[in-house]
C-alpha cells in the first residue's frame, strides 16, 4: 500500500444495523436478569445522550422479561468531566434520579460507546454525590477499547477493536432517525460524537 493510500480516509462502514442493535439490547436485558438474579433491586441510569435512549430500550425489555417496573433515570455528567477546561462551557442535560433514590440498589449505568473510560469515571463521581448504591455495573452498546482508566463494562453489546484514527458513530432512531453503528476514519465523520470529543491529537481523546 502506498503512502497515499494509507493517508486517504476510509468511509464509515456499518458494523451493526437496527436488527443487531435490537438483538443486543435483548441479550443484555437477559444477562442483567440472570446476573442480578431477577433484577429486583436494579436501577437503570442512562448517560446522556444516547445512553438515555439505550436505557429506555433496556428498560422496556426488562419490564417485558420480569413483568415488573424497573426504576429508570438519566444522568448528565457534564459538571464532573475532567476536560471542562479544554472547551467552552456546555449546556447541561437533565439528570433525573428515580424517586426512591439509588441507596442500596444495584445501579446499572448505560452508555453507547465505552472508549477512554473518562465518562464512566465522571458518572461514578456523580453517583457518589447522589447516593450510595449497593453496587454499580456498566452496560454499553459498543466497547471500542483504548481505555485510559482502569474501567471495564459488565455488559457489552459488541466488542469493536478500533484504531485511534477511527471514529465510532452510534445512531439511534430516537435522536438520529435510524439505528446503526458505523466505524470510519475520523476525517469522514465530522459529525461523529467521538470525532468532536477529540478533534485534535494534542488533546486527550475522551468519550
Amino acid at each position: 500500500m502506498t503512502a497515499h493510500h494509507q493517508s486517504a480516509p476510509r468511509p464509515p462502514h456499518q458494523v451493526l444495523d437496527g436488527t443487531d442493535i435490537a438483538r443486543v439490547v435483548t441479550r443484555i436485558a437477559h444477562e442483567i436478569v440472570e446476573r442480578a438474579k431477577g433484577a429486583e433491586d436494579v436501577v437503570l441510569l442512562g448517560i446522556h445522550t444516547r445512553g438515555v435512549h439505550l436505557a429506555r430500550r433496556l428498560h422496556a425489555k426488562l419490564t417485558q422479561i420480569t413483568g415488573r417496573e424497573i426504576p429508570l433515570g438519566t444522568l448528565d455528567i457534564t459538571m464532573y468531566r475532567d476536560d471542562l477546561r479544554l472547551k467552552p462551557a456546555r449546556a447541561l442535560e437533565h439528570t433525573e434520579i428515580p424517586a426512591d433514590g439509588i441507596d442500596g440498589r444495584l445501579v446499572i449505568l448505560v452508555d453507547d460507546v465505552l472508549f477512554s473510560g473518562r465518562t464512566i469515571r465522571a458518572a461514578l463521581d456523580a453517583l457518589s454525590d447522589i447516593g450510595r448504591p449497593r453496587a454499580v455495573q456498566l452496560a454499553v452498546l459498543v466497547d471500542r477499547g483504548h481505555r485510559e482508566l482502569p474501567i471495564r463494562a459488565d455488559y457489552v453489546g459488541k466488542n469493536l477493536p478500533t484504531s485511534l484514527r477511527e471514529a465510532v458513530q452510534v445512531r439511534l432512531s430516537d435522536s438520529d432517525g435510524v439505528d446503526a453503528v458505523l466505524v470510519g476514519d475520523r476525517d469522514y465523520t465530522a459529525r461523529s460524537s467521538q470525532a468532536l470529543a477529540a478533534p485534535a491529537s494534542d488533546t486527550h481523546p475522551s468519550e
Binding site: H48, T78, E93, T95, V113, T119, I130, L196, S206, E207
Partner: protein, 328 residues
C-alpha cells in the same frame, strides 16, 4: 456568552435562556444530600463588596462553594480600600493573587464596567450591583422565578407576559436590569411610581409608564415591588410615607385585583407596612423566599457558564459548542 456579566443588556435571548435552563438543572442540587459539584475546583472567585450586602453576598458565596470554587471575601470596610486604595490597585492585587473571577458590588455606577474593560484583571467580572445602574443576576433570578410560575419549561421565554414594576424606579438597579432582560425575553414591562421617582428619559426605555397602580393591576401577570431606598433619598421625593403607602403600597385589597395566576415579587429587603403589608408578604402568592433560593441556582449557572469552560483570550468570543459535541 461573553466573558463578563456587567449588564443585563449584554445578554442575548439565547444567552438568557441558556442561563435559565442551566439554573433549572442546578436547582435540583438543593434537594440532594451532597449539595456540591466539583466543576470549579481549583478556581478562585473573589467577592469584592464595596457596599454592604448580606443577601447578595451570601447568595454568591453559597453558589461559589456549591461549585467547589475557592472563595475569598473582600469587603471595603477594614481593607486597604478604607485607607484610600484605588479600584485599579485593588484589581491589580487580586490579579496578582490569581483571581479567576471577581464578583463586584460598588456604590458607583459603572465600576464593574470599568473593571471589565480594563486590563487590570484577566478573570471574569460579575456585576453584583453597581450604584443605581444594574444588578443583572437579580434580574436573572426574577426572570427565573417568573418563568417557573408563568411559563415553566426549558427553552421557554416570557413572551406576552405582562410584568408591572412598582416603586422607587429612579434609584433601582433591579428595575434597570429587569427592563432589559424581561424585554429580551419577550415580556411587556410597565413601571408604576410617583413621577418624582421615575428616571429622566424613561420614555426611551422599552417599557410603559403609569402613575396609577390600581389601573394596571388587572392586566398584570407578575407584580414586582421595589424597596424605597431611603439611603439614596437625598431630596423629598414624596410627601409622606403614608401617602406613598396608600398610592403605591401593596395590600390585600390590591392583591385581590390581580388575576388568579399572578405572583407578587420583591427583591428584598422588604419594608413591611409601607411598600407591602404583612398580609401580602406572607401570602402564598408572594415569592420573596423562593426568589432567594432561585438566586443561588441562577448565580451557580452564571458562574459555571463564565468560568466552567476553557479560559479564552481577552474578550474573545469562545467558539460555539456544537450541539453534537455534548453527545459524548
Amino acid at each position: 456568552m461573553k466573558r463578563h456579566l456587567v449588564s443585563a443588556a449584554d445578554l442575548t435571548r439565547d444567552d438568557a435562556l441558556l442561563i435559565l435552563d442551566t439554573a433549572e438543572e442546578l436547582a435540583q442540587l438543593s434537594g440532594r444530600a451532597v449539595k456540591k459539584l466539583p466543576t470549579l475546583r481549583g478556581r478562585t472567585v473573589v467577592n469584592l463588596f464595596f457596599e454592604d450586602s448580606t443577601r447578595t453576598k451570601t447568595s454568591f458565596e453559597v453558589a461559589e462553594k456549591r461549585l467547589s470554587a475557592d472563595v475569598i471575601n473582600f469587603s471595603a470596610k477594614g481593607s486597604s480600600v478604607s485607607k484610600g486604595e484605588s479600584l485599579k490597585d485593588t484589581a491589580l492585587t487580586l490579579q496578582a493573587m490569581g483571581a479567576d473571577a471577581v464578583v463586584i458590588r460598588h456604590h458607583a455606577s459603572g465600576a464593574p464596567a470599568r473593571l471589565a474593560q480594563s486590563d487590570w484583571l484577566r478573570g471574569s467580572v460579575i456585576n453584583a450591583g453597581d450604584g443605581t445602574h444594574e444588578h443583572p443576576t437579580q434580574a436573572l433570578l426574577d426572570a427565573f422565578t417568573m418563568r417557573r410560575h408563568l411559563n415553566p419549561g426549558n427553552g421557554r421565554d416570557l413572551a406576552g407576559r405582562r410584568i408591572t414594576i412598582v416603586g422607587d424606579v429612579l434609584h433601582s438597579r433591579v428595575a434597570r436590569s429587569n427592563v432589559h432582560l424581561l424585554t429580551t425575553l419577550g415580556a411587556e414591562v410597565t413601571f408604576v411610581a410617583p413621577p418624582t421617582l421615575m428616571p429622566i428619559g424613561i420614555e426611551n426605555w422599552p417599557c410603559q409608564v403609569s402613575y396609577d397602580l390600581d389601573a394596571v393591576l388587572p392586566k398584570t401577570d407578575a407584580l414586582m415591588m421595589l424597596r424605597v431606598q431611603r439611603e439614596r433619598m437625598n431630596a423629598a421625593f414624596f410627601p409622606t410615607e403614608r401617602e406613598y403607602s396608600r398610592r403605591y403600597g401593596m395590600d390585600g385589597i390590591r392583591m385581590a385585583q390581580l388575576p388568579e395566576h399572578a405572583i407578587v415579587m420583591h427583591p428584598g429587603p422588604m419594608v413591611r407596612g409601607m411598600e407591602i403589608t404583612a398580609e401580602v408578604a406572607d401570602s402564598p402568592r408572594c415569592t420573596v423566599v423562593e426568589q432567594v433560593a432561585n438566586g443561588v441556582s441562577v448565580r451557580m449557572a452564571v458562574l459555571y457558564l463564565l468560568l466552567g469552560g476553557a479560559v479564552f483570550a481577552d474578550n474573545a468570543e469562545p467558539a460555539r459548542t456544537e450541539t453534537n459535541e455534548a453527545a459524548q
